[in-house]
């Protein structure tokens, strides 16, 4: 028996991006504005797919965390690493010498 819905469903399935493709688009949404068709595809997919929703929210979190990580490193009062004494001395000598010059 021929399923009358088979052809349209196959067509829909072909139009809908896979989880792997949605992952790429979600990542790109952090880097550029997605086109309208892309946004619709992602929205539809995420509405139906809990795993991709989770993936998407974890990528967004990661993106924010990296910015925060970078800003914190630049603003930190107590740096997490110390120059070895020999390097520190070398740099101090260099700066002293060069600032005289």
């Amino acid at each position: 028996m021929v399923n009358p819905l088979k052809a349209p469903m196959m067509l829909m399935a072909r139009m809908l991006p896979s989880c792997e493709e949605v992952g790429q688009m979600v990542s790109e949404s952090l880097d550029r504005r997605l086109s309208l068709p892309e946004r619709i595809q992602v929205k539809l997919h995420l509405a139906m797919c809990a795993l991709c929703r989770r993936y998407a929210s974890q990528l967004v979190f990661l993106h924010k965390a990296l910015h925060r990580h970078a800003e914190d490193a630049e603003a930190r009062k107590e740096p997490d690493r110390e120059l070895p004494d020999s390097v520190r001395q070398h740099l101090q000598d260099l700066v002293n010498r060069e600032s005289q010059a």
Partner: protein, 209 residues
């Protein structure tokens, strides 16, 4: 001291204090972005030398610290660009996350998550995690494990926060290529955090080269 007398004439700039005041800060930033001791130390040295040369042009628009960090970030950007250009592209192998094949590879469900291979529920409040030093430690470990060439691009974009168009131009890569590289890194980082930070798998240092 006679030194500090002459420095007084130049406003707030006091190079004799730089190593003490900014040495560890600059070194920490450089190390976290370059993942290499001697490269980080070189970057700090070059920052001080560049700052000495440019100190006449420092007019207190920013604080000395911000100015110094700005110079360092330029140095880091130069080094990362060079590293990207000089690392052969075939050195970027398949990433560990890609070897795991989390997606179906054939059949009608090609590209869908394979059973039990999808992302797990992290069960942590992301916003709280940002304050968590444990999380930050794992984030740094996972960043350090990215292969050099990809790490260079990713660091330029996400940590140095360079403009995407500029990165494409400087590295001679297309925007599409950049987006793919960024996603590969994010995939790998996400998986790395999941394995080590969430699931507690011990960290091996095999990728620290």
């Amino acid at each position: 001291m006679s030194d500090s007398l002459t420095e007084d004439n130049q406003g707030k700039i006091d190079p004799s204090r730089w190593v003490q005041d900014y040495g560890d800060l600059l070194y920490s930033i450089a190390y976290s972005r370059l993942n290499d001791d001697s490269a980080a130390q070189d970057a700090v040295q070059e920052t001080f030398l560049a700052a000495l040369k440019a100190k006449e042009s420092f007019v207190g628009k920013s604080t000395e610290r911000t100015w110094m960090v700005g110079i360092l970030k330029h140095k880091i950007t130069d080094l990362l660009r060079k590293r990207f250009r000089e690392t052969p592209s075939d050195k970027v192998d398949i990433l560990p996350v890609e070897q795991e094949h989390p997606y179906e590879q054939v059949g009608s469900s090609k590209g869908m998550w394979r059973p039990n291979r999808g992302p797990s529920e992290w069960g942590k409040d992301p916003h709280k995690s940002l304050e968590d030093s444990e999380f930050r430690r794992f984030l740094q470990i996972c960043l350090d494990q990215l292969p050099e060439r990809l790490a260079a691009v990713f660091t330029l974009y996400e940590l140095q926060q360079e403009d995407a168009k500029k990165i494409c131009k400087d590295l001679a890569v297309s925007a599409t290529n950049l987006w793919v590289m960024l996603h590969r890194c994010r995939r790998q980082l996400r998986r790395c955090l999941e394995l080590h930070w969430i699931e507690g798998e011990p960290v091996s240092r095999r990728n620290s080269e």
